[in-house]
């Protein structure tokens, strides 16, 4: 019963918000993260690197800025890649990185516009737990809803859907 109510309400909000909220496509790669905004094209293309001050737990830099620090950091700063072999290895840091990218796109619009729906590419053959980790990270990073697509399917889209 609750489930069907949930489904109906999702459908209504989906129809209502779908046209005004910004839907986002993300290629959450081990090396680079790219973000596509519906109607605007690719807006972010940055390395998947986060630099963190271990003493304070503060995020110092994300993306291009953080990549410049790799291999050059003092002991208390760690510039790390939160994804390993295509799947999330450090959940907390991945979520912070996604939040940064999603907010970068979202804050450029008016504040009353609903939070975006997000579509993320994942490698084939990842486990249910790894899929769930991606969905949770995206939701906690500020997405309204999260959906997944197989990366090879996404890569082939231009050819199979002309």
């Amino acid at each position: 019963m609750m489930d069907s109510i949930k489904k109906v309400s999702r459908k209504i909000t989906g129809a209502l918000f779908g046209s005004i909220s910004k839907d986002i496509g993300i290629d959450l790669g081990t090396a680079n993260t790219l973000v596509y905004v519906r109607g605007r094209g690719i807006v972010i293309n940055e390395p998947s690197v986060v630099a963190i001050n271990k003493r304070t737990g503060q995020v110092l830099a994300i993306g291009t800025e953080a990549k410049k620090m790799v291999g050059k950091t003092p002991g208390h700063i760690v510039a790390s890649r939160p994804l390993v072999d295509g799947v999330i290895s450090d959940f907390e840091v991945t979520q912070q990185m996604l939040r940064y990218f999603i907010e970068k796109v979202h804050k450029e619009s008016f504040s009353f516009i609903p939070r975006p729906r997000v579509l993320v590419g994942i490698p084939c053959g990842v486990t249910e737990v790894e899929k769930r980790a991606v969905i949770d990270a995206v939701i906690m990073a500020g997405a309204r809803e999260a959906y997944l697509i197989d990366e090879p399917m996404a890569a082939a889209m231009e050819r199979v859907y002309p």
Partner: protein, 199 residues
């Protein structure tokens, strides 16, 4: 509507290489390999250590791969100077590395990728294989920028290979196409095992 017919995609990314045969919006056979760009950088670091007794960093290795990396011999020799630490004396030194060195360093990883493509070809149903023979293997991802990789894969598999335009952004452009045409393309989304409804 999504076109009927098989397509084979080889997407060589940073952490994983994805090799998949898709048809009608679904994956038919697929493998995900943990050998991709990062592993190739490691290959170059190992090669330089063994051959030149020199330690280089990951970024240097990546720069080498991008600047002179290739899968089959090139028309003209390419070389570049690289700097690192001499493992014997412990002092910095500079050497010249050429495309043949890098090709040797990368050969193991490329061989594994090609062998996996062949395995997938063997597992592909024959009807789809005839589509793939006609349309060719689609090469995507940053790894596809390695010089002559398309030629090498085509030689080894006897299937034509075409690299997609701007291979680094192919996946995210694909998600864009799905978002713009979500009414049509709902079926390509991955379903979770719980009750989460589709977009």
């Amino acid at each position: 509507m999504i076109q009927a017919g098989g397509n084979m995609i080889v997407d060589i990314g940073g952490g994983t290489s994805e090799i998949a045969v898709i048809s009608l919006g679904g994956v038919v056979v697929a493998r995900s390999l943990r050998i991709a760009g990062d592993e190739m950088n490691e290959d170059i670091i190992r090669f330089v250590r063994d051959e030149f007794n020199m330690l280089i960093g990951e970024r240097t290795a990546e720069n080498i791969k991008i600047a002179i990396g290739s899968a089959t011999p090139l028309k003209a020799t390419m070389e570049m100077p690289i700097r690192g630490r001499d493992l014997v004396t412990g002092v910095p030194k500079e050497i010249i590395i050429n495309d043949e060195n890098v090709r040797e360093a990368l050969s193991r990883s490329i061989r594994i990728i090609v062998n996996t493509i062949r395995t997938i070809v063997e597992e592909t149903p024959p009807e789809l294989l005839s589509d793939i023979m006609q349309k060719g293997i689609i090469l995507a991802g940053g790894g596809s920028l390695i010089r002559n990789l398309d030629v090498f894969i085509a030689d080894e598999t006897e299937i034509p290979v075409c690299t997609i335009e701007d291979p680094l952004t192919a996946v995210v452009r694909g998600t864009g196409i799905v978002l713009e045409n979500i009414e049509d393309l709902r079926e390509v989304l991955v379903e979770m095992e719980d009750d989460r409804p589709l977009l």
